[in-house]
Amino acid sequence: MEKLRYERPIIRKLNAGLVNKFGTQARSEVVSHLEGASVKALIREYGSPLFVLSEQQIRRSYQNMSRIFKTRYPKVQFAWSYKTNYLNAVCRIFHQEGSWAEVVSGFEYEKALGNGVPGKMIIFNGPDKTEDQLVMAARNDSLIHIDHFDELYTLLRLSEEFQLKPRVAIRVNMDTGIYPKWDRFGFNFENGQAWNAINKITDSDRLNLVGLHCHIGTFMLDTNAYAIAASRLCELAWRIRDKHGKTIQYLDLGGGFPSTNTLKGSYLPGSDTVPTIDQFADAITSVILGFGFSKEELPLLILETGRAMIDDAGYLLGTVLANKRLSDGRSSTILDIGVNSLFTAFWYDHKVSPAQEGGQYTEETVLYGPLCMNIDVIRESVSLPLLNKGDHLVVHKVGAYNMTQWMQFITLRPNVVLLDHESHPKLIRKAETIESIESQEQIPEHLLINSLS
């Protein structure tokens, strides 16, 4: 007689009460394949945990966002935010699609050059640019976005010393009605600091002020904040034209568009609450178009969108290590995915799907990572089918920030695979080994003696 499929025995208390206004509990959708590639086969080939990125999804997201903005505004340029995901393969997909590079450190700047981005298509942001880096960026005709007065004066001195006239913008911070107000980067609009910086630049004649930049926050849920930001930048551009007779070539509205991930503490899922990219585009472009610029004067609109372009394209595959009953009766499951790999578990309630068919019964469970640290929690409570040791799971929307903010902590960082345009897996970052980590270490001679042997 053929044996029946096994499922852990479970007993669940039935609670009578009001009907849930959101309907009955949805069954967990089984995700056994990603674009035709078997989760099981990917893990067998590349190990677990495993990051998987979809090239097709990256290109779809870019093309969709590009279409949304370009059908509303005549001059649009995207610049790929390197800090969101600076794996070279990922950056090169965006560059193939036409994205410039937006970098915030010398390290990222060098990566952009290495990825074949011409210097004039690199936007150099951030508060930390060394003198050498500023000179290099100026010589490469990059767009240097000045963050503070110390940097402004340094750049003025370097321009004099090396007889350069770099193309620059200032980063402007402002009150857009959101909390917390991001005023630590750039020059403030309301207190006149931004205007003061603009005057210093234009009066010096050593720097070529070509743009204005802002980045008002991250995971922004209010489209009106972008309308305010666009309006402030237009106002500055208008004043620069009036006072200095200079046309600002571009307005860079930065990044900050949210993905459809669900922020921790949210009542409803992100997919139901996050504004669409069309709404953000409407807010920004209608302000610029309606400000009064002539057709010839309309500035190029630069966007440094990161998260919203790549979160959907990333998956993290993992495996159940153990099931455990907690002291209060709750079920918990230990995965081989920890917060060292899935850094965004600190921000989001990530959607998690089983990768194999399970029974009809589900159980509220805590998902823990493998680290011997109390903070290693992937989901505080999630309803999943009864999982067994060795079962696989898929964590969704992990493309942004995880592959840059991940930590080598307790365990090693895993392989990253790209499903290419034909859904064939390609290894784009090898898993770390003890050798790759220890290659950076040095042991002083007196510690080479082993007293325990």
Binding site: K3, L4, R5, Y6, E7, R8, I10, I11, R12, K13
Partner: protein, 80 residues
């Protein structure tokens, strides 16, 4: 470990505790186990029967059996 005698169970996995008024549901294998407990089958016999009926390793089932007993205790369905 003794399952309370007054607990009502059905073949479809519905469980009712008349002492507390609480009701529960269980999956098929849980329902099988409750009927074995009511029949006072030994642990060894239960393991043999389940492993013969379902696609499961003995070691895995033994662990899950202990977890199920913990769940029954948490729900106050076992004799003290």
């Amino acid at each position: 470990m003794k399952f309370k005698k007054n607990i009502a169970t059905s073949d479809t996995g519905y469980i009712f505790n008349p002492g507390s008024g609480d009701s529960f549901s269980s999956n098929q294998i849980g329902t099988d186990l409750l009927s074995f407990f009511k029949e006072d089958k030994s642990r060894g016999e239960i393991i043999r029967l389940i492993c013969a009926k379902y696609e499961v390793e003995k070691i895995q089932f033994e662990k899950d059996l202990d977890d199920f007993i913990t769940q029954l205790r948490d729900h106050n369905l076992l004799e003290n």
